[in-house]
């Protein structure tokens, strides 16, 4: 067991993947000597060289586009997009090429490319550094979309994403980078499949569904709700595409109530997909509508206002209360 921060767990996971497979490459802006702006790739260039940890020119489309080419030549590139709001110059390569080329080739081409994106707010950053663009990518067939919420998952999921034969968009909750936990870096028998979610707290009255940075917020809300005599179950989805639907539906059928929590705007957000699916599949077991807590239908606000924009413990509890009001 080692105690690792989430960023260090990602670093250790990538290091392990690079040791296991010489075809694994890291590429992105400032990932070399600097170790990335969040230090997630710290020390990797020193140990694996400039051919495997590639400081790229500052152009996101170029990063993903050349990663595709490297994958066509048999490499397994892990691209770092420096911040969530910077992924859009690469959107064309991700959506029209990375996601679609395998099908275009009738299966002749596999693109084992990972696109790592630090996401979410809460760090007092300037514009474009606090966004949650996951729904753009869950809407794109051909991509797997995952989000880690804790160091142990960060360590395993990044390795599984790198091993996946499919392209993976890998969201990292940037405000949780520095949170630490014990990680078993020796044994692998505890690993879960990449496309499975996890029940992180069991409860009987209501299900909170979250991923990435909001998992911790929901766990805190569940603890607080306990004081009100409510037993709250919390699910960490981990994978957004595909969705671990059985895990979600089994829980909601038991509790009869569900609240989806994410930082992204509620409107057309990933929570809308969950709400619709839960309604379709658990209709007769629902005691209340599926509620959603998330960002407003506004651009991400200046950081002095972000505590109003981001769902916090109170807004989650408010939704729980509303769910019990039906």
């Amino acid at each position: 067991m080692s105690v690792l921060s989430l960023s260090k767990a990602l670093n250790e996971g990538m290091r392990k993947a690079m040791e296991d497979d010489p075809k694994v490459l890291i590429m992105g802006e400032d990932v070399g000597k600097l170790g990335g702006v969040f230090r997630v790739t710290d020390g990797l260039q020193k140990d694996f060289g400039e051919d495997r940890v590639i400081d790229t020119p500052l152009a996101e489309s170029g990063i993903v586009g050349t990663a595709i080419g490297l994958a066509l030549r048999g490499y397994r590139p892990v691209c770092e997009i420096q911040f969530d709001g910077f992924v859009f110059p690469a959107a064309d390569q991700i959506i029209t090429q990375l996601a679609k080329m395998p099908m275009r080739s009738l299966g002749a081409i596999k693109l084992p490319v990972v696109v790592r994106i630090p996401c979410g707010g809460g760090i007092g950053a300037v514009e474009h550094h606090s966004e949650s663009p996951e729904a753009y990518f869950t809407h794109t067939a051909g991509l797997r979309v995952v989000a880690c919420s804790n160091p142990a998952d960060a360590y395993t999921m990044i390795q599984q994403a790198i091993r996946s034969e499919d392209p993976v968009i890998f969201f990292e909750p940037k405000r949780r980078y520095w949170e630490k936990a014990e990680v078993d870096t020796v044994n692998t028998d505890w690993w879960m499949p990449l496309d499975r979610g996890r029940t992180v707290r069991q409860g009987t009255d209501i299900t909170l569904i979250a991923y990435g940075p909001m998992v911790k917020t929901c766990l805190e809300a569940a603890t607080a709700a306990e004081g009100d005599g409510r037993s709250v179950e919390v699910i960490d989805l981990r994978s957004l595409n595909p969705l671990d639907a059985p895990l979600v539906m089994d829980s909601v059928r038991r509790t009869g109530r569900a609240v989806v929590v994410h930082e992204a705007p509620v409107y057309s957000g990933f929570g809308a997909e969950l709400a619709a699916r839960i309604t379709e599949q658990c209709f007769y077991r629902l005691e209340s509508p599926v509620l959603r807590v998330g960002g407003f239908s506004t651009p991400y606000p200046p950081s002095k206002l972000e505590e109003h924009y981001l769902p916090d413990l109170d807004r989650v509890l408010d939704a729980v209360d509303r769910a019990f009001g039906y």
Partner: protein, 363 residues
């Protein structure tokens, strides 16, 4: 401001040309090529056959057998010259118009028709031919090509990559990013721009104030303009650029100065935006006629040879038509195939649901 888009009969300066439109061999101080008569006959055969493939595909579209077709008419020399410069180990990244390069890479022409007929999005295995799938979004493939070239560097392999694109694509961010990447990583790549003067309806002036080959200097690698209707020059210049790339000298931009003699695609109507005299001027610079004239003048081929190539072309066209019409339609549930390489719960669920839905019609 003088714009360099002499789309008429006048050849622009700085043009590498080894065979004039009249079929005369000319010398060039930097590029030369020593082709045996049988090699010239072979190039001639390539040119004629790919023109016939193209003609047949246009006819198939007009008869409703293809949804659309992007004709290569007029660009045969640029494609055959550059395509025949490739070694087996080299890798090519085409646009959607490189039917002539596909021919050089031994891709069965009927496989090109699949995406235009709507039975698939790409019907060949790129690894089998070292010829990537057609890319429809303009310029995207240039980055894939550079990434692939960076892979060649990491493999320590002796090979190069050629990336095809058109004059319109040079305005794309991806193409410019690919120039930067290739330059700073010294990637073994040749950027082969077929400047056919028109990006659908937009003339070159809408893309550039300077000749396209000169763009390369700003990125730090050589740019060369070649007569794109001269198969000898295209072969010689591309061969040299690929050799330089394989030997670690980095990228080259080749601007093949040519002309799109047909429409952009079969849905386009060039009479709305260009004058007929322009086409007439370029017809005098036809890429095939000059090779034929050269072979005749030098008595490297007789009428029997030309007749036999025509006969082969007729056969190829008929065979392509027959096999196009025989191409099976995909099955409905094929929609769900190959979206992911590994099992995916959502795809599996939707496939099963749609299969059950379809079965409902059978009872």
């Amino acid at each position: 401001m003088t714009l360099d888009a002499s789309r008429g009969a006048q050849a622009p300066p700085e043009l590498v040309q080894l065979l004039t439109p009249e079929g005369e061999r000319v010398e060039h101080p930097d590029y030369d090529i020593d082709l045996k008569p049988e090699e010239v006959r072979s190039l001639y055969r390539d040119l004629v056959l790919v023109r016939r493939i193209d003609l047949e595909a246009v006819a198939l579209q007009r008869q409703g057998e293809l949804g659309i077709w992007a004709s290569l008419l007029g660009q045969e020399a640029a494609q055959i010259g550059s395509g025949r410069a490739l070694t087996d180990a080299d890798m090519a990244f085409p646009t959607y118009r490189e039917h002539g390069v596909a021919w050089c890479r031994d891709v069965d022409p009927v496989k090109l028709l699949g995406l235009f007929r709507g039975v698939n999005h790409g019907g060949w295995d790129p690894k089998e031919h070292n010829f990537h799938l057609y890319t429809i979004v303009i310029g995207s493939q240039t980055l894939h090509a550079v990434g692939y070239a960076m892979g060649i560097q990491r493999d320590d392999a002796t090979a190069a990559v050629i990336a095809y694109f058109g004059d319109g694509a040079t305005s794309q961010g991806d193409v410019n990013e690919s120039f930067i990447w290739a330059s700073v990583f010294n990637a073994p790549i040749v950027f082969f721009c077929q400047n056919n003067q028109w990006a659908i309806s937009e003339p070159l002036e809408k893309q550039s104030r300077i000749p396209l080959y000169r763009r390369a200097s700003g990125f730090g690698f050589p740019g060369i303009r070649v007569d794109g209707n001269d198969v000898f020059a295209c072969l010689a210049v591309t061969r040299q650029a690929l050799k330089n790339a394989r030997e670690g000298q980095g990228p080259t931009l080749i601007e093949a100065f040519t002309y799109r003699m047909g429409a952009h695609t079969t849905t386009d109507d060039p009479t709305r935006y260009r004058v007929a005299s322009e086409l007439e001027a370029w017809k005098l610079k036809d890429p095939i006629e000059r090779v034929k004239a050269y072979l005749f003048k030098n008595e490297f081929a007789d009428q029997a040879f030309f007749d036999s190539v025509e006969g082969e072309a007729d056969q190829l066209g008929a065979d392509l038509r027959r096999r196009c019409l025989a191409m099976p339609d995909p099955a409905p549930l094929d929609i769900f195939d190959h979206v992911y390489a590994e099992p995916h719960a959502l795809i599996d669920e939707e496939r099963a649901q749609y299969a059950a839905y379809l079965e409902g019609f059978e009872s």
